[in-house]
Symmetry: C2
Subunit: 215 residues, 2 copies
């Protein structure tokens, strides 16, 4: 059993039988997904912003234009944001409408974003991000410029207050419904990387980039 991420805030109120606070499991789901949804408020109004994330150790990172809402916000007014990372894994088709569900993996994180400001550290984080998106690609790219480093905000939260919810099993019907004459089961959602589409503006032939393990 690894560290627990349970706190009064991260404790799951609904469907606690599908909840976990196991840190290793949370990290695994975070790494398996490319995108997350960041929730925060501005003048009392909630906003949800989809963005790509990466992780190093116990920290969850995302980036945006230095002036974007989900980077600038935390400087204006420290707020505990809520971030959800979800992967839909399949449809769960039961014998009654009520017991239909989906199989999924989901992590909900809470934390006050910290801005990463030190230049070398920002560049190191860009490299880790690129490495997640396309392993080995960083070294082959035109190096980053000072202007680009300044223009890109990097923020992180420590992964210490979170919950995991997951479902990965056949439908669970009411006992008296198992003989209802209809197919029941799971239809898995499959993800894969398709054929690389070379930029039409590219004249030379180079081997296509590596694809990530995350989706």
């Amino acid at each position: 059993m690894s560290d627990s991420l349970e706190t009064p805030l991260s404790k799951v109120k609904r469907g606690p039988n599908r909840a976990s606070y196991d840190k290793e499991l949370a990290l695994e789901i975070i790494d398996a997904a490319l995108m997350c949804h960041v929730g925060q408020t501005k003048n009392g109004q909630v906003f949800v912003t989809p963005t790509c994330h990466w992780r190093e150790g116990d920290y969850f990172y995302w980036h945006a234009h230095s002036k974007a809402r989900n980077v600038k916000g935390p400087i204006d007014e420290p707020e505990k944001v809520c971030i959800n990372v979800s992967l839909l894994d399949g449809l769960v088709l039961a014998r009654s409408a009520m017991h239909h569900s989906v199989n999924y993996r989901s992590v909900t994180l809470f934390g006050v974003p910290e801005l990463v400001e030190e230049k070398e550290e920002k560049v190191r984080q860009f490299e880790l991000f690129l490495d997640k998106v396309s392993p080995g690609r960083w070294e082959t790219l035109r190096p980053v410029s000072d202007i680009e480093i300044k223009a890109t905000g990097v923020v992180r939260i420590k992964i210490e207050e979170a919950s995991v919810k997951f479902r990965g099993e056949p439908p669970i019907d009411d006992p008296e419904d198992y003989n209802w004459p209809v197919w029941a089961g799971v239809i898995p959602l499959e993800r894969s990387w398709g054929e690389a589409q070379t930029d039409p503006q590219q004249n030379e032939n180079y081997p296509a980039a590596n694809t990530p393990d995350a989706f």
Copy 2:
């Protein structure tokens, strides 16, 4: 040009060149996705909850246990929630780290949730939901019971305040980088429904359920 969903709140501040307020486009993206992320606050803390959604006409629907956070909340204190629907379509791999991106379709909606309370209307909405998840399945299921109808909350917002953001093109590099010796282009993310996994507790053979057009 269809109706515009632009309001001061839904107006996109960052990357307005990728923004649209076209209602038809928003509806198309909403229908293409099975899952959304609902953002709302409770006692000043923001929460982001992934859930499945469906649509009828100008209304965006979701459901949850009658006592769940994203159904009960709106009754306690009317709040304009923010809902994001996103589909990741591919990796955009440029010649510099800075111009890496993703292709995606995304809709951000705002609205005060209304609870659907009338029994027949709730059942009609369950049917529309099932029809999205597995066309034609509703009629084959064990009919819903009164207890199930009571236990399932249905909420909706009118689709009238929203923005669309999308990207669906090759990388756009700085002009001087186009000869940098590295592959650049798009790697599309492909989704498909895998082989149906029959419930191990099923003894009879029935044809597997239909799969949805949404992912």
